[in-house]
């Protein structure tokens, strides 16, 4: 900084102090961030970003605060990727074809709860849940049906699956093989982020250590065989939905990411062999500028830690690519049409924050799975943003905003402080075992509920602007009870037509390999190819690994 610039800043400092005195004396309302409870300053100036270096940063350059591409969205728009799945594989296959024909550019599979937990559709624990919250996939046969007529080398597919992620991934790879697709061209993502399952989303299967082993097995296998595949989507989404603040979402998710990197390194992998395939997933909540700043801070923190702490050299290891979804938790059952507006603002924040792909929620999701009409409005929201508003024309258009830059710095500092706290409690894994991380999230969630009930925080249509007339109703999707019957019949047929001797021998091989240090991916893939079911494969490993038990508290 030159002497002249420093003198100007000094002058500004005096002016701001005078302005502040006038502001403090005036009658005004207080403003808080959407869910941290922190006070927002009434104005930001050059003083707030003096010396932070933001004036010298460019998009596409380290530390990537301003985005990972020099071209912003001029080179490529974000991928419009609506999460979808319900009922049976044939029904969801039809929904995918509908979405692709309406201009959606990537697929995102929502599995039902039995699949998420590793149960087959005909398992007793699945009763009443088959196809309810997503599509039921119990074997390679279902996966083949799900993508029937959709060439897997032409679409990128994201799969939200965690506890049994490697098994569903093996079904997908085997389905691609049966389509004759070159695996080197397979593009997509499995969520596969087990740490946030223990923290927030709770679709776990195995205890933490064997679960982490499976993830690293997959990193190693995929680097060699499916080099374009994202082996993990390290997710803040569920942490935020469970109640975390923006800073907690940022810090806990990045801490999970660092833990996976450490585990990969401990296995002897080179950081630049697997870090380029790590991707992220963020929740886009209501506080517009805070969300944009969160995304900018996330990229900067990841780049700095990967470079300085883990010694990554490949620029692709340093860039954080991520998917975003508008915040389901902000949608209201009251006056559901208002949700369209909430989603539109959140979508704009995601794009201003530089997301690579985006799911926009449908207005009816607090009531049921979305109808086709509601999904269409959600997708059109993205298309209006992309093609009518001009928002994607300039890379990081809010870069240089005093407020957004200062907020980016603030979130980065808060995240660093939380990393220190996590280190003090013994790291992420220990913090999960003791429930420290889960408690932090639960505390934030309780505070937000209290603020809403005390009318300290306004939720339009819920605690203010309530309509006295009857609830506005919108049409809802009904998942038919027939899905469960049909899926059981499909399972019975599949079990009768496969080579059961081969099934047994493949499961035995997997069980034996689980007792060793061998990479389990080849064995799991062999099981998938032989039409072993999801639960059979899960159970073979569970015999060796055991099951996870949660620390129960409230």
């Amino acid at each position: 900084m030159t002497t002249a610039e420093m003198l100007e800043l000094d002058r500004l400092r005096e002016e701001v102090a005078q302005w502040r005195a006038r502001f403090d004396a005036a009658k005004k309302r207080n403003a808080l961030f959407a869910n941290s409870g922190d006070v927002v300053d009434p104005v930001y100036t050059a003083l707030d970003i003096a010396g932070d270096g933001s004036a010298l940063e460019l998009p596409g350059e380290y530390p990537f605060t301003r985005g990972i591409h020099a071209t912003g969205y001029r080179g490529k728009l974000w991928t419009m990727r609506q999460f979808a799945g319900f009922g049976t594989a044939p029904e969801t296959n039809a929904r995918y074809k509908y979405l692709l024909s309406h201009g959606q550019t990537g697929l995102s599979v929502a599995f039902d709860f039995p699949t998420l937990m590793g149960y087959d559709s005909d398992h007793p624990r699945s009763e009443g849940e088959v196809g309810k919250c997503g599509v039921a996939i119990s074997s390679l046969a279902d996966m083949e049906t799900l993508f029937e007529g959709i060439p897997l080398d032409k679409v990128s597919t994201s799969m939200t699956i965690n506890g049994p992620a490697v098994i569903l991934f093996a079904f997908y790879v085997a389905a691609a093989e049966k389509q004759g697709v070159n695996l080197k061209e397979l593009r997509g993502t499995i969520q596969n982020d087990i740490l946030k399952e223990y923290m927030a989303q709770h679709a776990w299967v195995y205890p933490i250590e064997p679960a982490l082993r499976l993830i690293v097995d997959n990193f190693a296998w995929s680097a060699e065989h499916v080099p374009l595949w994202n082996t993990i989507s390290i997710s803040g989404y569920h942490i935020r939905e469970a109640g975390a603040t923006a800073a907690q979402e940022l810090a806990f998710t990045l801490a999970d990411g660092f833990t996976y990197v450490e585990r990969g390194l401990a296995r002897g992998l080179d950081v630049d062999d697997f870090a380029p395939r790590l991707s992220f997933f963020w929740d886009i909540h209501n506080d517009f500028f805070e969300e944009i700043a969160k995304l900018r801070a996330a990229r900067r923190i990841w780049a700095r830690h990967l470079k300085e702490r883990f010694g990554a050299k490949d620029p692709r290891s340093l860039i954080m690519r991520f998917h975003s979804q508008t915040a389901g938790v902000t949608l209201t059952a009251q006056q559901p049409m208002n949700n369209v507006v909430r989603v539109a603002y959140q979508a704009m924040a995601a794009v201003l924050g530089g997301t690579q792909s985006l799911h926009t929620n449908s207005m009816d999701e607090t009531l049921a799975l979305p109808t086709e009409q509601a999904v269409q409005v959600a997708l059109r929201t993205q298309q209006v943003l992309a093609y009518e508003t001009g928002v994607p024309n300039v890379a990081d258009p809010l870069g240089g905003s005093y407020y957004v830059e200062a907020l980016t710095d603030k979130l980065e500092q808060e995240a660093e402080a939380l990393f220190e706290q996590i280190a003090e409690v013994g790291g992420v894994v220990h913090g999960l075992e003791t429930g420290w991380l889960q408690r932090k999230i639960a505390e934030s969630s309780s505070r937000q509920q209290w603020e809403i009930e005390q009318h300290r925080r306004t939720i339009v249509g819920v605690n203010e602007f309530v309509t006295e007339e009857g609830e506005l109703t919108i049409p809802l999707l009904k998942v038919s009870e027939a899905a469960e019957r049909e899926q059981r019949a499909r399972m019975a047929q599949m079990r009768a037509s496969r080579d059961n001797g081969l099934v047994e021998s493949r499961l035995t091989a997997l069980r034996e390999a689980s007792r060793t240090d061998a990479n389990l991916m080849p064995c799991i893939l062999d099981c998938a190819r032989a039409y072993c079911t999801l639960y059979e494969i899960r159970a073979a490993m569970e015999e060796v690994f055991g099951a996870y038990r949660e620390p129960v508290f409230f």
Binding site: F113, P114, L116, M117, Y119, R125, S126, E127, G128, E129, K132, C133, E197, Q201, H202, A203, E241, A242, G243, V329, T332, A333, Q334, T366, L367, A368, L369, A442, S445, S446, Q449, I452, E453, I459, V462, N463, E471, T473, L476, V479, E550, V552, F553, F554
Partner: protein, 136 residues
């Protein structure tokens, strides 16, 4: 009057426990004795816990769409044990018409997203007072 005993339970495979935990804490803060089951409970596990813990109220939280299977099963298991004095209430992502059908089948009131916790507290207090005055 003795404290009201409540079992807050998560039936089925769904992992969304934010609501259940917020409600459990609110009921506790309102002076009730609250037991929380944790996730992934079968109806059998819930009914057994309710009877063993001798609760007055079972609060079920379901966001998975499986409510039409799981809630009636808890109700039936309690009845089979002669415990139809226990109030089975709850909430989650449950469409209005399904709530009506479940209430007709014998549950207490079911609550949707956005319900203030004070409403649940009042509801349980009122129900409890009415039951106690009948048996007194």
């Amino acid at each position: 009057m003795r404290p009201i005993r409540v079992l807050v339970a998560k039936p089925g495979l769904d992992g969304h426990d934010r609501g259940a935990k917020v409600v459990a804490a609110a009921l506790r803060d309102a002076g009730m004795e609250v037991i929380y089951t944790g996730l992934h409970q079968t109806p059998e596990m819930i009914a057994t816990a309710a009877i063993q813990e001798d609760v007055d109220v079972v609060g079920l939280s379901i966001l998975s769409g499986a409510h039409m299977t799981l809630i009636p099963r808890v109700l039936d298991l309690l009845r089979a044990d002669g415990r139809d004095d226990i109030l089975v209430t709850g909430g989650g992502i449950i469409p209005r018409e399904d709530m009506d059908a479940l209430e007709a089948r014998g549950t207490g009131r079911l609550f949707g997203p956005g319900t203030p916790t004070s409403e649940l507290v009042d509801y349980i207090h009122d129900w409890f007072e009415a039951r106690e005055s009948q048996t007194a």
